[in-house]
């Protein structure tokens, strides 16, 4: 496979192609009749997925540096370049994005019946925006992509969303924009500081990274601006209030992409920018205390609020707040296991929460309600759906053998040595997760079949099976044999840990560290 990729010079064009292909796909959608739009979008996103799969082999797992880079001038006088690159962190974010999008498109086939051209055009634009965020290695370019993906999502929520969609859409937009504009100011301040030391304007990620120790008194403010932008996106408690609204009001595909990809941009931002730029600030005792406290509050609060939701979509939305709390805990513990665990949760949450939203969407298409109390006893009526929902929920809970377990276990293991109290408290989040999901399953799938309108629901169609089965396969694979994935993120995670705490390598290997090395 590697030879074949070398033959076609895959490493030279792939990142450009991934960004350009969806945009090119918008052209046939505009030109073709509306009824064809979904098929074109499907073809483009599947092609995109196939193209991106080559990254799995083209990526060199041993090298922590950025790979497959491409660069070209954009605004040369300002040192703004079109620079892309990939490492073990962005690799999985890219694959997650390209993997989820075709499923999101497929799930919309019957759900979206109005303005289809606009819808699929926006989905493809969104795909370019998301990939751009994960691939950009120029701060200006990163910022442009970061803001650019706001617009398609805003329209997707606002046009095809539920009853309260306008409120949710504008809340989503303004929250994100408030954070990101301050980040723009921080980027510019850093750029001029970099220019002071190097004597030339540059927005290159590497230059920022090298110059970041010299920010002096600016560092806390700069970190704050970056952290705010990413904290809103994650979202960390108490910046999470846009999330339930956006999730609940968005159409299924929008919720799926929000949960699977957009939330990961926040944690990706911390891993890539905020913490490596300002490790002294980020990992200082005070900031660590604040972030871990917020993360643990998020874990427990998200779980508790999820438990009392009458709306199953809202339940899953709050469960995201809880899961992302684990990720933040892992990033801030900054040990090899915790960082790998955080990455595993990011991937795993993308699969399992994406699948949950898809399944809820399918249920909604049948009954047009998301009230948990409207269901009951579905297991006897639609057994295949029920089986998949159970598996997905168990994966989300973190049952050993499914994906959720690996990530949460690694995070808890890696964080315990640093923050025993916080980790101990976060562990209860796993128990609460079992509580709210199993209780919901009981009320939806089991109990008595007491609503006559539920008695004749059709089970999953072939199209719907094609939508969810790849995700289930992914969950099982990550749960049983995550080694290939962990291997590929190993060098980058190690690199991150070394970056943020230079003394890491010299630390004696504790029993905990060794236990982490013996990965499943």
């Amino acid at each position: 496979m590697t030879d074949f990729l070398t033959q076609i010079a895959y490493d030279r064009w792939i990142l450009n192609a991934l960004l350009v292909l969806p945009l090119l796909g918008v052209i046939p959608i505009v030109l073709a009749p509306a009824a064809r739009a979904k098929h074109i979008a499907m073809a483009i996103t599947v092609l995109e997925l196939l193209l991106s799969l080559g990254l799995w082999w083209a990526y060199n797992p041993g090298d922590p540096a950025m790979q497959l880079g491409v660069t070209g001038p954009w605004l040369p006088r300002w040192g703004i370049n079109y620079t892309l690159g990939l490492d073990g962190i962005s690799l999985f974010m890219v694959l997650l994005t390209t993997g989820i999008t075709p499923l999101a498109v497929l799930s919309s086939f019957h759900y979206i019946t109005e303005q289809e051209k606009l819808y699929y055009g926006l989905l493809l634009t969104l795909l370019t925006g998301m990939l751009g965020v994960f691939l950009a290695l120029d701060m200006f370019l990163f910022y442009v992509f970061w803001e650019l993906m706001l617009i398609p999502m805003y329209f997707i929520i606002g046009i095809w969303g539920g009853r309260n969609r306008l409120y949710a859409a504008i809340k989503f937009f303004i929250y994100t924009m408030a954070g990101s504009l301050l980040m723009l100011v921080a980027i510019l301040v850093m750029m001029f500081q970099v220019a002071k030391t190097t004597g030339q304007y540059t927005f290159a990620y590497d230059s920022f990274l090298q110059a970041s120790p010299g920010m002096g008194a600016y560092a806390p403010w700069l970190f704050l601006a970056f952290a705010l932008a990413f904290a809103i996106k994650v979202p960390i408690f108490p910046f999470h209030t846009w999330l339930p609204d956006a999730h609940v009001e968005a159409p299924t595909a929008g919720s799926v992409i929000l949960a699977s990809v957009l939330l990961k941009m926040g944690t990706y931002g911390f891993l890539r920018f905020a913490v490596p730029f300002f490790p002294e600030v980020a990992l200082s005792p005070a900031v660590t205390a604040i972030v871990t406290t917020c993360a643990v509050i998020g874990v427990i609060y998200g779980a508790l609020v999820a438990m009392v939701q009458p709306d199953v979509k809202k339940l899953v939305a709050y469960s995201s707040v809880s899961h992302l709390g684990f990720v933040m805990l892992g990033i801030w513990a900054a040990t090899l296991q915790s960082v790998q665990g955080a990455l595993m949760i990011m991937i795993g949450h993308g699969l399992s929460t994406g699948a949950l939203f898809l399944l809820i969407g399918m249920l909604y298409e049948r009954r047009h309600t998301r009230e948990i109390s409207a269901y009951g006893g579905l297991a006897r009526v639609i057994p295949v759906f029920s089986l998949i929902l159970v598996v997905t929920s168990l994966a989300s809970i973190g049952l050993p053998g499914l994906n959720g377990f690996v990530g949460e276990f690694l995070v808890l293991l890696g964080s315990f040595g640093r923050h025993p109290w916080a980790t101990g408290l976060a562990t209860t989040g796993v128990i609460f997760a079992a509580a709210y999901l199993l209780w919901a399953l009981q009320r939806i799938l089991f109990n008595r079949l007491d609503k006559p309108e539920n008695a004749h629901l059709p089970d999953l169609s072939a199209r719907e099976l094609v939508v969810v089965l790849p995700l289930v396969a992914g969950m099982v694979w990550l749960g049983l044999y995550p080694k290939p994935v962990l291997d590929r993120m190993d060098a980058s995670a190690r690199h991150y840990v070394q970056q943020v705490q230079p003394g890491f390598e010299r630390q004696p290997a504790t029993a905990l560290n060794r236990a982490g090395e013996e990965r499943p």
Binding site: W74, L75, P76, R77, W78, Q115, Y143, V144, E147, L148, I151, Y154, F155, G158, I159, R165, L166, A169, I170, F173, I174, M177, A178, L181, L182, L184, V185, L188, V189, M191, F192, W221
Partner: protein
Amino acid sequence: MTQSIDLTTPAGMVLGLLPESVLSLAILAVLLVISWRHTGPADSRRAGWLSLASLGVTAVALAWLAQAAPADPGLGLMIAVDSFRFLASSLVLLLSAGSVLCSLGYLERERLLAPEYYVLLLLAVLGMLFMVNAQDLIILFLGLETMSVSIYVLAAYSRGSTFSAEAGLKYFLMGSFAAGFLLYGVALVYGAAGTTNLVQIGGQFASGGLSLMARLGLGLLIVGFAFKVAAVPFHMWAPDTYDGAPTPVSGFMATAVKAAGFIALARVLYTCFDSSVTQWQPIIWGIAVASMVLGNLVALAQKSLKRMLAYSSVAHAGYLLTALWPGSPLGVSAMTFYLLGYGITSIAAFALLAAVGRGGERDVSLADVAGLAGQRPWLAFALAVSLLSLLGFPGTVGFIGKWYIISSVVAAGHATLAVILVVTSVVSAGYYLPVIMSMYMKPARAPAVYHDTRLSSTAGFAVALAVIAILALGVYPVPALGLTDDAAASLAQSTAESVAGQ
């Protein structure tokens, strides 16, 4: 052609004023034509096309002058012959041509069929050209008055509408007041420096510092300009005037008039008062912050889209003043680029507003554009792009402009102003986005309600060009940034000369 004109000879001086002379002659010609023919729609249209041609000829003269001008024009001229003037004049001509294109169909639709409209508009353009080339306070004042008097009449042009009359009267009273301030400032500066030439004044102040009289003069000059560009707290006339004036006139005031005012202010501040940056920076800071905060917050509360755009133009005056604050060539470049971006965006926005409204567009509210996207997708798309550009969203020229302004402020080591700018920009999302939401996310009141909502072919042409430019400059602004950087450098050069000349 390769030989540059000699500005020390009388003939050279005439050539140095070639664009203004050509435009004056063209105005006389148009006036002559309409005095014979001024009754029906055809006559109005003819006057419109003639004024467009006049602007075109002026642009040609400007282009010739730009390449024939000497690299070092020498000291003490009453008019500037530098690339800052050429760029500013082209900007004024471009925005005025846009306004004429938008007026052509509008005047017919609203039955405002007096072709004098175009003569007044051209006279205003002539005044603006003198404002941007003035290197002497007297020329500056003459240009400003020529422009203002024409626009007082244009604002009140809709004779049947009491609101239009109110707009004109209000603008006239406030404008005269502002002119008084400005003239008083000119007198005090003259008293302090003993000359009205900007370069010589700059030299005087650079060597001798600012006396109390000069400081008072500086303050009054800034107040006078703040009136003209509608910056808080001298903005009170703007909402009512924009609201009552015919929409293409509102667009003209928000773009070309504002551009001329800012260019002249920049020239005065940078040429005369460059040595005393610390004296005027606090004033500019205060006005800029007040404009951004008040403009954006009050715009949030508006029901009428036209009034919303009026208050948003106050906010944009604040952004532009922010670019002036650093007192650096980078800031001037940012301001000029922003004027270009804001100008083409606003021309499109006002033209589209005119398309969805009737009878002065005073009462076009959010509900009046509900569901526009379903029935008129291209109109909705153009308005959405314009609003996103006003918001400063990446991919549009508005973003590049804001980025450049923030850069210039941050480069001067002052992040607070940049933070205020971005925070108030977030507030502005609160009034731009609902328009987009209404167009795309709400159902239309009735099927085919937008049956006769359309742009005239000329306005459509202007809007299409503007939208293409908004997106193209948003993705690749390098050529335009190069032009504004050069222009700012030429202004800095004349500043340096003013210091060296003494």
